[in-house]
Symmetry: C2
Subunit: 736 residues, 2 copies
């Protein structure tokens, strides 16, 4: 349960900052050494609070003033990374997932001898505004050690600076408040316990930060240290959270917080640890996914979701994508129904923005934001990629054509209700989402006035001018995945309307509902099916089969600049069959029961060799479908790729000139889905007693045992699978 790296390499700052993330759903703290300043991307990234720094920039989430800033000096010489790189004898960074703590150890070599730094830090899982740090320095010689620590308000921003001024307060409790031009503010307070032979202390107050310089006189091997408790809040907190914990701040001590933290994580792992006997690496990677999903889960909020890059920074504007409903949601449905509900409630709040967007784009109903900020506000612009050759913004169609986003949210609601058995969310706004999304698709679908020759489309409703999950091909017609998802929305709308048994409804209202159901039925029947080749390959969209058929490598070789965007109108992939990510394959994974296994296999084989996997959302869908096709050995590498996405060096930090680094929660969720639905083969069965889980295990051959708990329809189950047998047993359910 330890993720660890030994050795120091300055170049790893972006990757390690992401890999060694700690957090508590309220905020994420990047895994950078304490002495790093904004050039090396430290960040206390806040969930769900956004700001626009300037009209020509993007709205994005905010980073708080950093209370973890600490650096040391010995005999007047600073020992701080990365400047002191050549003095590093040892450097270790790790996450102890069992305890939810980040650890750092560095040994510097000086002319007088060695100096050791050890730090422990965590984001409190029990008090969501709280961060805590212990920082210990020793030297193997008598030394004067200056620990300079405080709050750094000069934060790293992707599209900042956001703070137009900083309010700085000195005193026992120091604070830095960053204030945006619209009054929105983020404030960090801190208090410190000092240990060791303190000779003197002074305060350094700068424009954007306040620091406390503590001078210790220590003997050889004698410790000097600080224990810091910090409180981070924003002026928007009350809009988001169930409760805040500021009143507790003064009374909370580092030691008490540490105890609470370790207890939280110990009990968490009792419920959530996944055992994979025979594959320690996979076990660690998957549990890292679970740890990572848990530290970004908005447990503190009534209605909030998870950004596509988690809380690892401002990449993708800190916005929420379909990643949540299609990839992450299953983990929460199966383990933390409260958070699952919070995620969906975010979409209920977002209906407002979705209605506005639909209207703007000329459609009815709800067209959810491709990149969602608060209230469903669309954060995605129509110019989302920079042409690396001209430096100009390129018109892209993520925002206005990736219409499958609305269906993803309905799909999420469907998963939630069918797996939890909790239909109350429909009355709380879920039903409205479903019907508004149905309206949206019905207003998009169109029928040609006349048709003679094109017999497969006679009388059919078509869905034109969309972008599917494969973003490399823009503005296509009748994308197989998109059409199926639109149909799903209509089907689900019909299903929930049929179940509505409100007797208080008037006859007029009943007639309206009857008419609406008829309309849905008519639309469902008329949506056109994708075309299929003679040997059963489903055409991704109209005309896909006519595109150039080349290899991924060939397309890659056509790049003139490795930062080039492969898609868009002029991208190297756009005119070829090479796709970014699972598209038809995602459809098949979701609706596998509608196809025979030959069709599944044929399409998997066809599309796999034509997929670049340019998105971290791709591998898990291929992996899932491989499991469903019983090609588990081909699924396994996809599982490892998904689970370890942020443990190995990231492959893609740039797309079309835009930095896209950061963590990959959808991939973590995808790995979890592969474990549950793919390897364990969990499906649900409707029995007289209600919904019960069924297993159809397909373990990788080298796995000896797979064991985990999950919740179905309000019951917690212990699942245990070996090569020889498998069992599902009831466990005590613990709502978190």
């Amino acid at each position: 349960m330890i993720i660890k790296e030994v050795g120091y390499n300055k170049e790893n700052y972006a990757h390690f900052g992401t890999k060694f993330l700690i957090g508590n759903g309220y905020m994420g703290v990047r895994g950078t050494p304490e002495e790093y300043t904004k050039e090396y991307m430290p960040a206390i990234n806040i969930a769900g609070v956004y700001n626009l720094a300037a009209p020509d920039k993007w709205r994005e989430s905010l980073n708080a003033p950093n209370p973890f800033f600490v650096k040391i000096a010995i005999g007047g010489t600073e020992l701080a990374l990365p400047d002191a790189t050549n003095k590093v004898l040892l450097h270790e960074q790790s996450i102890n997932m069992a305890l939810g703590i980040h650890l750092r150890k560095t040994v510097f070599k000086t002319q007088q001898g060695q100096v050791n730094i050890e730090s422990r830090r965590f984001a409190s899982m029990t008090a969501h505004n709280i961060l805590a740090l212990e920082y210990i320095v020793t030297a193997d010689f008598d030394a004067e050690i200056i620990i300079t620590s405080g709050i750094d308000g000069n934060v790293w921003d992707v599209n900042g600076p956001h703070f137009v001024r900083h309010n700085i307060v000195d005193g026992e409790i120091m604070s830095v408040e960053g204030v945006c031009d619209n009054g929105l503010s983020v404030k960090t307070l801190e208090k410190v316990e000092i240990k060791g032979n303190l000779k003197s202390q002074s305060v350094i107050k700068e424009d954007k930060r306040i620091l406390r310089a503590l001078t210790f006189a220590v003997k050889k091997d004698e410790q000097c240290s600080i224990k810091k408790v910090a409180y981070v809040s924003t002026s928007k907190d009350l809009q988001i959270a169930k409760k805040t914990s500021d009143t507790n701040f003064l009374s909370l001590t580092y030691d008490e917080l540490l105890v609470a933290q370790t207890e939280y994580w110990k009990s968490f792992w009792v419920e959530n640890f996944v055992t994979i006997e025979g594959d320690k690496e996979a076990e660690t990677a998957l549990n890292y996914c679970i740890y990572s999903l848990q530290i970004i889960a908005p447990r503190h909020a009534k209605a909030l979701s998870i950004p596509a890059r988690g809380l690892s920074g401002q990449v993708y504007k800190g916005a929420v994508f379909w990643d949540t409903e299609m990839f992450m949601l299953d983990y929460f449905i199966l383990n933390d129904i409260g958070t699952a509900r919070t995620l969906l409630k975010y979409r209920i709040d977002g209906l407002k923005g979705a209605r506005i967007k639909a209207k703007q784009e000329g459609f009815d109903g709800a067209f959810y934001a491709w990149e969602s900020h608060e209230n469903g506000l669309e954060a995605c612009t129509k110019f989302n990629v920079t042409d690396v050759f001209t430096g100009r913004s390129v018109r892209t169609y993520f925002m206005d054509k990736q219409v499958h986003i609305s269906a993803a949210i309905v799909y999420g609601l469907h998963k939630y209700t069918s797996m939890t058995g909790d239909f109350s969310i429909l009355a709380d706004g879920g039903l409205e989402i479903i019907l508004e999304c149905a309206d949206f698709y019905m207003s998009m679908l169109s029928q040609r006035f006349s048709h003679r020759q094109d017999s497969d489309r006679v009388g059919k409703l078509e869905l034109h001018d969309v972008v599917g999950p494969d973003e490399y091909h823009e503005r296509v017609n009748n994308n197989a995945y998109t059409n199926r998802m639109a149909k799903f929305v209509l089907e689900y709308a019909l299903e929930v309307l049929k179940k509505q048994t409100a007797t208080s409804v008037s006859q007029v209202e009943k007639n309206r509902i009857t008419a609406y159901k008829k309309k849905l039925k008519k639309c469902i029947e008329a949506i056109c099916q994708p075309r299929t080749s003679k040997d059963g390959v489903i055409e991704q969209f109209d005309g896909y089969f006519e595109l150039e058929d080349v290899s991924v490598d060939e397309v890659r070789s056509r790049l003139k600049d490795k930062r080039e965007y492969w898609g868009g109108s002029n991208g190297v992939a756009s005119t070829t069959k090479i796709i970014k990510q699972a598209d038809v394959v995602t459809m098949l994974a979701l609706f596998k029961n509608e196809y025979d296994i030959q069709t599944l296999r044929k399409n998997l084989e066809y599309y796999e060799k034509r997929t670049e996997h340019g998105s971290s959302l791709s591998a898990c869908m291929y992996g899932l479908l491989h499991c469903y096709c019983d090609s588990v050995q081909d699924a396994y590498p996809m599982f490892v790729k998904s689970a370890a996405v942020d443990l190995v060096t990231p492959s893609k930090l740039w797309a079309g000139g835009i930095y896209i680094g950061g963590s990959h929660p959808a991939s973590w969720g995808g790995a979890y889905q592969m474990m549950v639905y793919g390897f364990a083969g969990l499906t649900l069965k409707q029995t007289k007693k209600g919904i019960t889980p069924v297993l159809n295990p397909r373990l990788p051959t080298h796995w000896k045992r797979l064991a985990f708990k999950c919740s179905i329809a309000g019951k917690r189950y212990n699942i245990n699978i070996t090569n020889k047998k498998h069992s599902i047993k009831s466990a005590k359910y613990k709502e978190k």
Copy 2:
């Protein structure tokens, strides 16, 4: 009636080659000096014969082996342009439009004295395979002059080389036959009359050319000369032409041909000269347009059309565009009904290709080629522009989305029948075009399944995913011009069906026609109208008003490379309101009677400042609408721009890395339309006696008199307009 340039500048080779074009409809001969070889773009460009040189190239028209190649040497030293540029004392090039002859005069200075070259050349208007040249050399000293002349088969090609071998024959009649890899061949024969003190002659036979070196010993000021008659033919001639004249070749002499040529042109100008008293420059420019249209008119053929760059070379593949029907056709309808019919017959033959294209693109009926080769074969590729930054081909939508081409052809048929009163062309295939184009649009038009909020489109048929005349904005919905033209096709189809009075049709057939008429009517009623701003500006397409509103200059300033294509997905204009050419304005010019004058003016003013005029098809439409709005002084510069398009230095030789130089027949035709419909204000009136012309003159204030002849409904009229009065009188009709 003389177009002349004095002085030599090597850089003018492309422009002068176009400006001094001669031709006879069968072929065009670029106005390059006789000694030019392929680096400087000489060409004998053949009408309507196409070849594909290699799979990765474009199909294009063919250039014939050049029988006009002549160079001289004096005392062993060549005197040939451009190498001898520093020896040029005088250089003149001209077209005598009155006689249809190209003249060239050059005086070289040598150490011994001056050497004069004079040449006359023409493409015979009376024998369409024939070219003729007289080439005279004198010196002001006793000299040995070598005239080397022959047939140069090493032709200039844009997407060649096309000839995989050359068959060369020596003898009194020399010939070079270029043979393509599919057997298609182009052959040039020549015979020469020699005059002067010939001392010796020899034959030089090379891989691709055959030359005759004639050595003369001439006294001071004594002439030596050759008169050459050449015969150019292709292996496809019989498929195109009514008759060929090869049997006459042997008996034809230069002098006889010259007499016939001058007689032809003299009588031509009696019928076709346009008098503009008070504006000699405009008169010359407009008559140059008429000359130029006449020399590319396919008078020899049964069914053939005029390429967008005329016969000035292989630019745009020698393909036929909407330019013919929308811009050039009116001149022929009003002056040369035979050629007008030939042009439309080409489209009747092209129905075959149009049907194939419609099917390929998923539609019914006839979708005409954007760039049409023989049998309506589409020559336009889906990659029509080269990205200047990457050198890669860019996916463009000229071919598959510029659907207004089919309507342009129907519009041409409508003009032809309504102005000539000759409806026989409908029975000869025209009706089929109209109905197939109606089917095409009916299969493109679509209705959304459901609509609540977007009330102006409820129950409406929309035309999605098109490119309008303004090619800078691709894949737009409900382009005002395109929708109106589609509706026009349906209206005209209904009109012609109503007029069909065939009594022999069975009851079953009658019922089918009745049902079809109902369908047309329903479709016409449901086609959606363009949206209009509060102050009456018609939105070019859905969403146009939301684009960035900047000036043409601002957009131009964003270019990083002047060869960049302004349109396409990433072009500088695509995301702005800046348009390439008249679009809404073209619609208003064509359907002016459907709008009040305030609307016409408002839109003219709005779009004029947002138009780059990146196409030579633009100015004349603005000019026409200015005339209709009685702003004649604003129309006048548009007229001059259109008429003199190829007389002044060409402004745009490149678009997206592609050479697009050459002559501009559509602009000539547009200037002619401005003269007839704009300044003379010619409209047609249906009276009891039939169709008669009516004038509503609006002459530019400095014009004293405008006089021309034209044919309406089989009658020739003399039209005479001064500031004070105007008259229409019958003239003797001469069918050419």
